[in-house]
Symmetry: C2
Subunit: 166 residues, 2 copies
Amino acid sequence: MSGPKFTMAAMNDEERDALRRLLREVRVAHLGTLRDGAPMVSMTLFLPAADLSQFHVHVSRLAWHTQDMGRDPRVALSIAQNDDARADPFTLARVTLRGSASPLANDGPAFGTLKQSWLARYPESAINFTLADFSFWAIRPHSARFIAGFGRIHNLSAQALAGVAA
Amino acid sequence: MSGPKFTMAAMNDEERDALRRLLREVRVAHLGTLRDGAPMVSMTLFLPAADLSQFHVHVSRLAWHTQDMGRDPRVALSIAQNDDARADPFTLARVTLRGSASPLANDGPAFGTLKQSWLARYPESAINFTLADFSFWAIRPHSARFIAGFGRIHNLSAQALAGVAA
């Protein structure tokens, strides 16, 4: 397993495709936050920006993860291929994005487009937009760690991650 | 959404069954650790003890999460129902266990039974037992937060969690 060096060059086309699918097709992520200085992780839905520079979540300010992000913006987002009942789940592709989270105002410039994209992906979430305590947060990764399966590990900068978007 | 109070009494039979299934049947968890003081989350396989007092992972000392646990034992384990392509993935049941992790020696008293149970669940992982860098860690939850779906949130003590095992 590799250290902190970035191994973007070593990703082959198949791995780039697998990473793109993970980020664009999986609907569920596990959001890591700090809670009382200790790790907290909770499931959340997410929406990637087209250029993979930001990942949006739509969360209630009453939720623990939202309270946590308000106190410390450092987060991690873990996204794994859906368990397809294969013999060896250890080979499931997965990626962790590490970065910082910031809230977006419900009357801000990005809101309308984001809401439209969110509802296209999660139409059943419409009710959350009627609740005053929900808002978008943008998570900007500074780095990513992609495990393509079979011990193939790639540490990627934000720039390398964006390179997968094309 | 409820505060830090424990609402075990409010779980109905259906919710207890759902929680038991989550903990016993889902194969993949997302393990939250501290890395350079910031959140890190990575996918892992896990095995619950029969009484739900401990959750075991079998990890390489070369993996980031193992290094992290060695530096700070505080962890979180997030386990979600597999995404079954339902209209609203926000209703997927999920639970977060928070607690501390400790390594188990490969020549310790628990190893043999644990290895047998692990291989019964993950037979394809046999090769990892031939590698010197793999060992079991036990995660003992001090509390759990169970989201049964539809905003039904239960904060559980370790004792309440064990009560679900029966």
